[in-house]
């Protein structure tokens, strides 16, 4: 190879590498920005943590078609959820917690893995009393308990705790994090216009694993 063609070859390699890395950098940045899971969208039972999920989920929709209750959606272009990934909205239709977990069984990768201890070990999110002022049972509008009655882990995930405020006695729906699967039945059943109890993503709802607050700009 003479000097001229070697120079040409090296130049071509450099331009390939250059354009390739620019494209890769743009794609990686766009990916990080395009990936999202809003707090109202829940993953099916047995889903990996969100970071691993976006690497493992092939966007095939087998879970969506396996769901006997048509609860799951595949995110479409323009939705706020990462394109092509499965989710459900508890307020619209909560997970029915099938004992055989067909959605997780259908998954071709381990993006969804049926928990060995069964569906009650699933952690799709965590229910939280987000509207203690609007909750009928707490504010005394009615003796409601719709969330308590809807909860499939009866008397374990949600209990009605007796409270008193002055002479008034009321029952507060109380979520026990250790037993809540995040199926969303409580949020679906809540009778107030905006649900007073909501299933939040684990990362948002739990604080047992939270370290010190990240410094701003860090």
């Amino acid at each position: 190879m003479n000097t001229g063609s070697r120079r040409q070859f090296l130049g071509q390699c450099a331009s390939l590498l250059g354009s390739g890395s620019v494209m890769a950098a743009l794609l990686a940045t766009a990916t990080r920005q395009a990936e999202a899971l809003p707090a109202w969208a829940l993953r099916p039972p047995g889903a990996l943590a969100e970071d691993d999920f976006s690497a493992a989920c092939l966007r095939c929709g087998l879970c969506v078609q396996a769901c006997p209750f048509d609860i799951l959606h595949l995110a479409r272009l323009g939705d706020d959820v990462t394109l092509g990934t499965p989710y459900f909205v508890a307020r619209q239709r909560a997970c029915e917690m099938c004992v055989d977990i067909p959605c997780a069984v259908a998954c071709p990768t381990d993006a969804l893995t049926a928990p060995a201890q069964g569906i009650n070990a699933a952690r799709m999110g965590l229910a939280r009393m987000t509207g203690p002022d609007t909750c009928y049972s707490i504010n005394g509008t009615a003796q409601c308990g719709a969330c308590y009655l809807a909860c499939p882990i009866k008397d374990a995930a949600i209990t009605m705790e007796r409270r008193s405020a002055g002479r008034r006695v009321y029952f507060e729906p109380t979520v026990n994090a250790a037993n809540c699967t995040g199926c969303g039945k409580c949020e679906e059943a809540c009778v107030t216009q905006e649900a007073s109890i909501k299933v939040l993503p684990l990362a948002l709802a739990r604080h047992d694993h939270a370290g010190p607050l990240p410094r701003r700009g860090a």
């Binding site: 794609l27 976006s54 690497a55 078609q65 479409r76 092509g84 071709p108 381990d110």
Partner: protein
């Protein structure tokens, strides 16, 4: 030579459309009518509730993104690779890909309007993009191309709901129609580039075994979406050169077979092809 019957001139085209639309119908029969021939979509599917298939490029991105896949997904991808190693790598593009219906429509309109080939990017663009999506998947820890891939946006959209996906499909159509002939499939799409790699070794290939009958009419070059693949087989520098179209870019679409009134082209194996003497039957 008398013009052949319309059916004879569109035989492979009709078979391709039958295959492309038939696959879509098979994916839709489940959700629409409860007849589950194919579950899932082109990224990963289950045939007749028994055979699991997975798109090898999607799985490759998942693997470099740092996720070990289960054996089921690996064997499903191996099956797909094996099928295309037999049937021709980019036969995916011509016989399976639903976006091909869109880009073929654009190409047909371009031909009808006499728009020529338009802006032609470097052919290596798609190779650079293929490398870039793998690097980006590794860096971002995600399956990068599935955030943009118009093939799966179209196919997933038809089966599961389109959303704003039409915008992307219309954009690809407009790009192919107004900017660059075969621009998307031939120059951008990294999925096609990936299957082109498989095509470099695949068994089923088009050959020009009866090239002695060629009258230089140019019909095949005009209809072929990747015309650069034809010349080495049809007009080799060495008159005894192989008549087989060996380039991985070839889609095995059979359009050259349909277009040629002299019956120069035929499907055959990569290896066993005799060159027919002028006027001889093969």
């Amino acid at each position: 030579m008398a013009r052949r019957h319309w059916l004879a001139r569109h035989r492979w085209l009709l078979l391709r459309r039958f295959s492309q639309l038939g696959l879509l119908a098979a994916f839709l029969a489940g959700p629409w009518f409860g007849v589950w021939m194919l579950r899932g979509n082109l990224a990963s599917s289950v045939v007749l509730d028994t055979i699991a298939l997975t798109d090898p490029l999607v799985l490759l991105q998942a693997l470099v993104a740092g996720h070990g896949a289960q054996i089921a997904a690996l064997s499903g991808a191996a099956l797909v690779l094996l099928a295309y190693a037999l049937l021709g790598g980019r036969s995916y593009c011509a016989w399976v890909c639903p976006l091909n219906l869109v880009t073929d429509l654009a190409a047909g309109l371009r031909r009808a309007m006499g728009l020529g080939r338009g802006w032609q990017m470097r052919r290596r663009t798609r190779w650079v993009l293929l490398g870039a999506i793998l690097v980006a998947s590794w860096v971002s820890g995600s399956i990068v191309w599935e955030l943009l891939n118009p093939i799966t946006v179209l196919q997933r959209g038809i089966v599961f709901g389109m959303g704003a996906g039409w915008v992307l499909i219309v954009a690809v159509f407009a790009f192919d129609l107004l900017v660059s002939a075969h621009g998307w499939c031939g120059h951008v799409c990294p999925v096609g580039a990936f299957y082109g790699l498989v095509g470099k070794v695949s068994v089923l290939r088009v050959n020009a075994a009866r090239r002695a009958q060629c009258t230089d009419c140019g019909d095949c070059f005009r209809i072929c979406p990747e015309p650069q693949v034809i010349a080495p087989a049809l007009k080799p520098a060495d008159p005894n050169g192989s008549p087989v179209i060996l380039s991985g870019d070839c889609l095995n679409c059979g359009r050259c077979i349909d277009a040629c009134d002299e019956d120069v082209f035929a499907f055959g194996s990569r290896r066993v092809v005799r060159i027919a003497a002028e006027g001889a039957k093969v």
